[in-house]
Subunit: 239 residues, 8 copies
Amino acid sequence: MSPAHSSHSFAVPDFDRTHRKGVPEVILADRKTVEQSIAIARAFLERTGRAILSRVGPELEAQLRREFSESEMEWSPLPRAAVLRRPGFTPPQTGGRVGVVTAGTSDVPIAEEAALLCREMGCTVYTAYDVGVAGLHRLFEPLSAMLDQHEVDVLVVVAGMDGALPSVVSGLVDVPVIGLPTSVGYGLGGGGTAALYSMLQTCAPGLSVVNIDNGIGAGAVAGLIANRAAAARAAGGNR
Amino acid sequence: MSPAHSSHSFAVPDFDRTHRKGVPEVILADRKTVEQSIAIARAFLERTGRAILSRVGPELEAQLRREFSESEMEWSPLPRAAVLRRPGFTPPQTGGRVGVVTAGTSDVPIAEEAALLCREMGCTVYTAYDVGVAGLHRLFEPLSAMLDQHEVDVLVVVAGMDGALPSVVSGLVDVPVIGLPTSVGYGLGGGGTAALYSMLQTCAPGLSVVNIDNGIGAGAVAGLIANRAAAARAAGGNR
Amino acid sequence: MSPAHSSHSFAVPDFDRTHRKGVPEVILADRKTVEQSIAIARAFLERTGRAILSRVGPELEAQLRREFSESEMEWSPLPRAAVLRRPGFTPPQTGGRVGVVTAGTSDVPIAEEAALLCREMGCTVYTAYDVGVAGLHRLFEPLSAMLDQHEVDVLVVVAGMDGALPSVVSGLVDVPVIGLPTSVGYGLGGGGTAALYSMLQTCAPGLSVVNIDNGIGAGAVAGLIANRAAAARAAGGNR
Amino acid sequence: MSPAHSSHSFAVPDFDRTHRKGVPEVILADRKTVEQSIAIARAFLERTGRAILSRVGPELEAQLRREFSESEMEWSPLPRAAVLRRPGFTPPQTGGRVGVVTAGTSDVPIAEEAALLCREMGCTVYTAYDVGVAGLHRLFEPLSAMLDQHEVDVLVVVAGMDGALPSVVSGLVDVPVIGLPTSVGYGLGGGGTAALYSMLQTCAPGLSVVNIDNGIGAGAVAGLIANRAAAARAAGGNR
Amino acid sequence: MSPAHSSHSFAVPDFDRTHRKGVPEVILADRKTVEQSIAIARAFLERTGRAILSRVGPELEAQLRREFSESEMEWSPLPRAAVLRRPGFTPPQTGGRVGVVTAGTSDVPIAEEAALLCREMGCTVYTAYDVGVAGLHRLFEPLSAMLDQHEVDVLVVVAGMDGALPSVVSGLVDVPVIGLPTSVGYGLGGGGTAALYSMLQTCAPGLSVVNIDNGIGAGAVAGLIANRAAAARAAGGNR
Amino acid sequence: MSPAHSSHSFAVPDFDRTHRKGVPEVILADRKTVEQSIAIARAFLERTGRAILSRVGPELEAQLRREFSESEMEWSPLPRAAVLRRPGFTPPQTGGRVGVVTAGTSDVPIAEEAALLCREMGCTVYTAYDVGVAGLHRLFEPLSAMLDQHEVDVLVVVAGMDGALPSVVSGLVDVPVIGLPTSVGYGLGGGGTAALYSMLQTCAPGLSVVNIDNGIGAGAVAGLIANRAAAARAAGGNR
Amino acid sequence: MSPAHSSHSFAVPDFDRTHRKGVPEVILADRKTVEQSIAIARAFLERTGRAILSRVGPELEAQLRREFSESEMEWSPLPRAAVLRRPGFTPPQTGGRVGVVTAGTSDVPIAEEAALLCREMGCTVYTAYDVGVAGLHRLFEPLSAMLDQHEVDVLVVVAGMDGALPSVVSGLVDVPVIGLPTSVGYGLGGGGTAALYSMLQTCAPGLSVVNIDNGIGAGAVAGLIANRAAAARAAGGNR
Amino acid sequence: MSPAHSSHSFAVPDFDRTHRKGVPEVILADRKTVEQSIAIARAFLERTGRAILSRVGPELEAQLRREFSESEMEWSPLPRAAVLRRPGFTPPQTGGRVGVVTAGTSDVPIAEEAALLCREMGCTVYTAYDVGVAGLHRLFEPLSAMLDQHEVDVLVVVAGMDGALPSVVSGLVDVPVIGLPTSVGYGLGGGGTAALYSMLQTCAPGLSVVNIDNGIGAGAVAGLIANRAAAARAAGGNR
């Protein structure tokens, strides 16, 4: 058997798995020309009925509105992200539940990237922004609501200068926490380094991290965790 | 509701939650004297019926055997970890399912720390060690078994010099992957730095990481994810 | 006038100031031979009636007990520090009030270095150790006592892995906070780097820091701040 | 007393304490849009009678003058900072005394940020700029005046390329010194790194530091120290 | 004999060797003014019949077309490189065979720099772009073709975020592999650092690396290796 | 077809390729216990007729002599490496030609690792040690001999403190050069960092590098390049 | 005596020494506004008869020509430096002899800064630019001329990518060598880091360094060394 | 002419120059076995009449005394250095004058390495140790003596934690200053990094540096500078 044959046959379950996985690809528009972004978006729209673009500059935003006037475009101003949908496309509702918390207001755009991807993966997302770490009382109420009322499956905690927040939260809750550092900050430890280091050093069990500003990556992990639990809830008792 | 009230009610479920959380504390013996380790182990044993010690030196190992001859001691030689249990203590069986994969044989001790904690959290753990990244064929068969036969809820992928393995695995599977870098390696990028950097840079969705050699931390995250899914399976249909 | 003359005359107010300053010099014994440490200790004892040694190894400890049997020696086991006093030497009581807080138990030896120097500077020191950051409820009660009952003039907050504690405390209190990072920790951000970076990035006003494991330095700053306030209290109304 | 109770009672004086603390918040305008800065400034002005903005670009400066023509606006050209005050607002005079010293002229804008915040905290500020380290004679005279005539409670010493100045000063004086590194410099150790490292390594007792270019942070620490001493002077004899 | 004489006589075999070596010099236009680039290009064209320019900005591109209208200019849009040839100049055909593989599409411009130099050194170049590392099945087929059909002498494997690809390839093939990291990526390990570190840490035998984005350097190494083998094939049997 | 089947069938050409590749595996004994090293050596000896061990401590050396008295053991004292051969095992002679050059004497042990592996791959190795960079005249004569008399296919240039040597050599010769930095050196840029950085920055075409102290890696690359050329020489004219 | 008095009297020999030292101050115009540069230049011109400005932007250049039309202005295009001289000002001729050598053409602007300052200090400067390190024969002839004909007292060797050149030169000559790294280069070790590290690691005796791109600093050191020797030559025999 | 011939003839002036240069080679014994050190020392002793060894361990010290009982051995306890001299060997007296200053007592061993080499190069060395930077008055008197009485040609200023001392000195004196950082220090900027960075950032003209702990290197530079001036003094008036 030729290697080509063997690799082809291997690919079959892989594609199948990618399909089941339900993490849609996100087009990072800040690393592409407007033309490239438009072309890739069109390909996704045609093949899957949906295209997600993040970090969309003003020029591309305008071009998207022109080029895809026949599609539905949902625009998220803070992370400057766009979701294009073929008319009639309805995203799945998985029943997964995700909480997203930020330390400051400047962490919100990255947090919104994570939230957006979770929603496109079918999860319900609950957010609490600017809860700080210096004034912890601002944190307790929304966290209680997320855990006790909404029973989230996972928390994404986003922080730049207050890099301790994910550790603090992880010490308080019984769900997995994804630490998402942002590139806020200056001087020594700036650009998100102090936040990432703090999260990696944490003693609080149940915290794992993604790279600085990787909102999409955090959203993918959170969505997978929540959807795994949701699928078990749906299928529960049978297995 | 006053903030005080809210934080009051929060504090109560906090202790409660820690209990339900089921991440037992692990005594890192390499940062303590033999006497301190013995004393803390005794306290845990008395209060909770179990004490878990990792990175146990030969002297402490001997002392543990002497001091706790009345308890059951399970000794794991590779991570040099000990679990002491009061006679009659039976750990819970949650139904959570965790897969642990290592790139090389030198990554195994750290991997075994993660596996041990998952087991003490009530999960069933499936392992595949030394699957490499240079010879990917060694990876496919055990990975298939974990996913299709055992239906693991989460994978811990452990790698030092072959830091790409977690990314490669994350691109192949539909469950969350915890990247666990180990302090193998030398020269530039040695001590686990290259592995951790690679995992943070990954394009494969669904991968989050813990710090270098943090087997206990990776085990806690994996256990929480698996137990969340297991609880949903158990309760499924009802909520 | 010759430069020598000029530099000599300059030295006068300088020595005077050093005297008023009241920060006694501390002999860091881990950078000296046993013989050197003994000799310098003897010189201080003779000139000032007191000698303070930190990071004293077992061999030097034994030798100090032998050599200075005629002096009073106060031994602090955790930071392995010794204070030798000429019989009849009584340290000043300034009325300065210092609080020292640690995140974990492994931070205590460094914290005790700071506390010891503050005491030798004449301050009263209040301590609260192992208050954590993951379980913040452990922090609130001792902090309240320090601020409301003891009315400390300054806080030294010591943390290695929970590097966020100084920021959290600084957001809660109205006195200056000295952040003292310790060389606990491992992997990326280990050796106290993550803790120091976190403290430097803080948004909480009123926090300044010293270098990793610099307990003596933090004690000197805290003692100066507290003694400045104490002197004002004593002299108050007159100036 | 229950932990909840303790945290409840703590929360109340926390707000109270923040009020008494007297560190007004500063709006860092270089991280915000003109609109955001205007909106936050308006909120502060209405709630507290004062708004402080630092790192104000020319566009925002013009907009501030237009929008707040009914308020008094004090403009500091070097740090490009603005203080808006409701007519009739009079800042407190605490009696705190702060000295601010810079090594070079390029360190002045950051020094002025610290001085401005200290003044808004009610302190009297004495400055000596461009005193160098290579020509130490330029330092001695103004330092003598600050210490002996004005009896400052604390010194902020600002340095970029001459990172040794805070250590030199700290060796000469008997008040606490805040080292404030600036992002001057080039090549290896540039951007303020050499200055910060030097300050962290210092042997001179009584020096603590803040992050590179953190003039506001240094001002807050200095203001707290000076105001603590000033309050003791005012209340002195009674406690 | 004077040193000058000796150094002159040494130069003779050196120039001779440079000639035989057949690595043409490439003008890196992004470090030069338009005028400098034009002048150097003209000198090469006159002396050797060919000039190769890489990283050519739009202004220089236009100027090259105007200035060298009498020469043949081959324009490569992706790496923005130009090869000018005197009419009649025919590059050598050595029979060397080079494969160039990239992980992603953003790695292609740097890969094309390597490919272009190999072609100008007389090699035949086979390319496979965007073969990923997460979906390894995309890699196997083109790699088989390169090795079994085209029998390449050496592989250049180009990767930024998927820095593991060179290691994976090196584990699969029996020819030397040149790892070429690209400055793609963000956060910790960004700018190509993670990719370079991964390649340096590899366990797969037969992999050596060049610096980040050094497409020209990788091309020179690959061309030398391939041409050495090609020369042996041509001369084979005789020695 | 099941994934297991597919991965098995893929393995066939891979093993085949590994066989043809002719890079024997080297047991790095400094990362293994004596028992592990003995066991792995025995396995290799039985399966392939040869076992290569590097970085062999005195205890393992003695044990190897005892355990494998029936095999031939070739001991290299400088890199402390051992080659065990089943009686009758004759390594191949490929005709590949490799030159190994070191800057200093302290670079020799790492150089000898590279040379040893090349020899076990069937190459003839020519060495010139301690040729310096400060006294370049010591370099020219042996380099001339390697290139003109022995016609080496590739050069490995080993340097720690004189990190420039590989660049200097690469500017003089017409064969590919492998730069091998060693962990000699101190202070800033010590431990081989300056050497590796210098090699990565080189302007001289034809130089690629391996990680610090990676003698085995450099030997594998050099052996593959030389054997590729040798195979072409042997087969030459036919393809 | 007051400290002020003492510091004043100290200043006297200091100013005297600065005068004798003969290192004129250079205005680094890239860190100042056009207005500031003009003002400082005017002050120097009036006080000392000369003003030296480096890193002069086009706008400042035009303004200098306008403002100081009555003075002589010597313009150096490559380092963009200007020397203004009061009519009749004649710089001293000390007899000091300095050689300046660069590895590449991109190192020339920084080299010219060093040369300019040496000339203004009264030295004669001999230059040899673009002597490379890969082709060492280009180095030997000009170096011989500098040493044997011009008998320079000191050499400044300037290199960015070819960071080894100062080590190579220092191994060949009997005068002190100042290594001056430039911020040429890319990727790992870029921005002059590899060059500076290489120079710090050198084994060649007689080499000291200044920071990256610090042409003025290198010139000052070289000028002091040369003028010391020149003064001795002038006074020779008498002491 | 063959390359070998050419390189031989080049060597002639080089050896000649090395001879005139008068920087004797120093055997760094901490990187060699006792046997190697003895052998190299014997070779130097025989060829040049003198052997200099630094960083001599106790075992080698004893062995040197045994092996070279027929030679004169001068032992320097602090830097643990030995100078062996053939009976009758008299080192040259050049008339060069070098000052060596240290900030602290822990800097003395490295300073003594520099002083020793200067003495072996024929210079007279004046030392002032532990002059501090915090108490500058300790510096002025010995510095005045060195400059005004002894008229040193060059200063070596040695500092670890007080890394500013070389800058301070360089601002006060009119001779070239060699900054020699030592590996004293801890935490961030420890191991000599802060000291080296500070020296590289200095604004004081006339300071160049060598690597951390490179006492021999600093001595060689200082010796060359001093001997250049001394030679001019001796020959003065004639050239």
